[in-house]
């Protein structure tokens, strides 16, 4: 059995970001940071997909994370990236802990639709709130790192390095989780729940834990996106946002913990290219790409890297 070289890969990626980031143009640094945020959400979504539960409501936690960061910025003037991400993670995880008692009982399409309903209820609640700016949302104060606001020319690079560090740490933790007995239950649950129960493990508990971890990752992603874009609005909880995450999840496949980030980058690239080449029909271009990905790469883009060489 080949040893899993993922930690080395993570280290290499971090080194590449730190070194290569100095040479990349500003707009690309921005896109990479957003890819980190989206990748975090999709990483969590992948954990659930491995267990056979496709959540159409990850946007709920993404939005909770974003509004936590926004709330800290607006009410307390806290603009530190690390504090915001930590707070976003915590509130999202707490919400998932509570909701998980309800959601862990559902499977398949019903899990997806109930998660969608909860996300839309949250959307409705924010839209009703005029203090939160309703559908216009509000802006966040400029990001600081450990109390320091980087100079204008260095902001994007500094934020990317900080984001990448936190993200890769989260990815490493996820990778460790997937090697624990609890983490390995996912595909087993997808295959046959009854056998898992007979083995002595609790399916409900495993799903609840996966759900909380996925929410925590989504909350972190939301806080990061909020502070990078500088603006939050209720649409972050709308079902089309969840749909985008599922799109990226399908594109990247569940083959590796690094796959979601590759998927998010490619998704961003396709989006921009579609906008550039066909501003009047970019939806059609995206639809065609999604179709092609499902038909020709059913295991996601990552399967391109893991084709086993048959003798």
């Amino acid at each position: 059995m080949r040893p899993d070289r993922t930690p080395l890969l993570l280290g290499a990626i971090l080194a590449a970001v730190v070194a290569g980031g100095l040479a990349l143009p500003q707009w690309l640094l921005f896109i990479l940071t957003i890819a980190c945020a989206q990748g975090l959400v999709v990483l969590g979504l992948n954990l659930l997909i491995r267990a056979g539960l496709v959540s159409f409501g990850q946007a709920l936690f993404y939005c909770i994370g974003a509004y936590t960061a926004g709330g800290l910025s607006r009410a307390f003037g806290i603009s530190d990236l690390f504090v915001q991400m930590a707070a976003g993670t915590a509130t999202a995880a707490l919400a998932a802990f509570v909701l998980g008692f309800l959601l862990a009982r559902y499977r398949g399409i019903f899990f997806g639709l109930l998660s969608l309903a909860l996300s839309m209820i949250f959307y409705g609640l924010i839209v009703k709130s005029e203090t939160l700016g309703s559908t216009d949302g509000f802006n966040l104060a400029k990001a600081t790192l450990l109390g320091v606001r980087p100079g204008e020319a260095w902001v994007r690079y500094a934020v990317l390095v900080a984001a990448a560090s936190v993200t890769l740490a989260a990815v490493f933790l996820a990778w460790r989780f997937l090697r624990t007995p609890l983490g390995q239950l996912g595909p087993a649950i997808k295959d046959n729940e009854i056998r898992v129960e007979y083995m002595g493990a609790s399916v409900r508990y495993a799903i609840h834990v996966n759900y909380v971890i996925a929410a925590a990752l989504a909350g972190a992603g939301g806080a990061l996106a909020a502070t990078t874009v500088g603006h939050i609005d209720p649409e972050m909880a709308y079902w089309t946002t969840s749909g985008e995450f599922v799109f990226i999840a399908v594109l990247s496949g569940t083959g590796s913990v690094v796959a979601p980030f590759l998927g998010a980058l490619i998704f961003g690239a396709i989006h921009t290219v579609a906008f550039d080449l066909s501003p009047n029909t970019w939806q059609m271009s995206m639809g065609l790409v999604l179709l092609a990905a499902i038909v020709f790469l059913p295991d996601g883009l990552w399967s391109l890297f893991t084709r086993r060489k048959t003798a």
Partner: protein, 424 residues
């Protein structure tokens, strides 16, 4: 050998001078951002893009009416880079950054959605790129913060609802009750909030019967119409637009909602042409300012309205007027900056300084960049009632309200201004 040397010297001089000449003639790359897909494309985005196409082509041919006669901006042709505003805020901001940092546009004119404007404003400041918002309703942009590179050459949505309240006072006197049906998102909530507050100022005894807030794009309004009919309110206010507006008119008219009461449609002008047969007489229509049927008969409007209709077989609506005004305002500022710096191509900072506190004229009339520290425009507004004259929908009983009466003064927030009794 002598001849060859001469040619070589001439060649070197020409090569040295060429960049100078090329620089003067180098086009101005302008990024245009508006909705080209989704529900906001048909009433706003596409008419605005059409207006941009028309105005840019006319200016590039030097056919603008005086004082806009120079080619393009100060002699340099305008090169349009148009992108779609559709998508979540993250994508809108990403595409703005791409427009500025990858496509390297010289300046940006765009944005229809208030959410986009709020998100883009700080980014424009960060990237130090001159950005002119041509639409957006919310007054929050310049009330919540100050900007150096961000401008808006159209008035805010506050004046729509305040003007509507004044119109009710002037044509109906004191009314007993009002009701509203607005879309349940920031635009609808703010429009109704402004109207309700204004009416309470002008008519403290007025009763608010109900405020219906259906979901955006709900499309089916039978229940809301029944509720409005049941309350018996004298005045009904709606800021519906596009598909929702048209569905509402189609569903409400046969049920008699427009009979025996005044219905105000603050953005009704966009439905005026296509739904002329369905809009009953006596309906109050707004055009978000002196646009469309309320536009003055000046040289600019004659040039714009006739040319636009000839090219696109449809009259320009208020989104088109706002876009035309935005381009002309930037041109005026650009050329003013050029005159101040000795004819050189102006920097973003110089154009910005020139546009601050500028007053200029366009197809909608006089525009003054008077509030928001000189970054936010004010204009007069107008309201009228519909009447079907020989098959054509015309506006009668038109009342115009000067800019200072329907816009808050410098430094005062719109909500506070209304609550304070519209003090100048």
């Amino acid at each position: 050998m002598e001849g060859l040397k001469k040619v070589a010297v001439a060649g070197v001089i020409a090569a040295a001078l060429a960049p100078l000449g090329a620089f003067a003639q180098q086009p101005v790359k302008v990024g245009f951002v508006m909705f080209l897909s989704g529900p906001a494309a048909s009433p706003f985005g596409v008419p605005a893009k059409n207006a941009a196409d028309f105005v840019v082509d006319e200016l590039n041919a030097g056919k603008g009416p005086a004082p806009y006669g120079k080619v393009g901006f100060g002699g340099s042709k305008i090169e349009m880079v148009a992108i779609d505003e559709a998508g979540p805020t993250t994508s809108v901001v990403t595409e703005y950054r791409n427009l500025v940092q990858r496509s390297n546009v010289d300046l940006v004119i765009g944005y229809i959605s208030s959410g986009s404007c709020l998100a883009i404003a700080p980014v424009a400041e960060e990237l130090k790129k001159f950005t002119n918002f041509f639409d957006c309703g919310t007054p929050r942009i310049f009330e919540d913060a100050s900007y150096k590179y961000v401008f808006r050459t159209s008035p805010t949505a506050t004046m729509d609802s305040v003007g509507a309240a004044f119109f009710v006072r002037d044509t109906k006197g004191k009314v007993k009750s009002i009701a509203g049906v607005n879309q349940n998102y920031a635009w609808g909530q703010d429009s109704w909030g402004d109207f309700e507050a204004s009416m309470k100022q002008l008519d403290p005894g007025v009763e608010v019967k109900t405020s219906q807030m259906p979901k955006l794009f709900a499309g089916q309004y039978n229940a809301e119409i029944s509720s409005l009919l049941g309350t018996g309110a004298d005045v009904i206010h709606s800021s519906f637009w596009d598909g929702d507006l048209e569905a509402f008119i189609l569903q409400a008219s046969p049920r008699g909602l427009f009979d025996k009461r005044t219905v105000i449609l603050t953005t009704g002008e966009t439905a005026m042409h296509k739904l002329a047969a369905q809009i009953p007489d006596g309906t109050v229509l707004g055009a978000r300012g002196p646009f469309g049927p309320y536009a003055p008969d000046n040289a600019y409007n004659r040039w714009f309205a006739k040319g636009f209709e000839a090219r696109f077989q449809a009259p320009p609506n208020y989104a088109s007027y706002q876009m035309a005004q935005a381009i002309l305002g930037v041109k005026a500022a650009w050329e003013k900056a050029m005159a101040a710096n000795g004819g050189k191509r102006p920097t973003n900072e110089e154009v910005g300084a020139a546009l601050e506190h500028l007053a200029f004229d366009g197809p909608g009339g006089h525009v003054r960049m008077a509030i928001g520290k000189g970054h936010q425009a004010i204009m007069e507004t107008a309201y009228g009632m519909t009447r079907n004259v020989g098959g054509k929908l015309t506006m009668v009983d038109v009342k115009r309200y000067p800019a200072e009466t329907v816009n808050p003064p410098e430094g005062v927030k719109s909500a506070d201004w209304i609550k304070g009794g519209f003090k100048k």
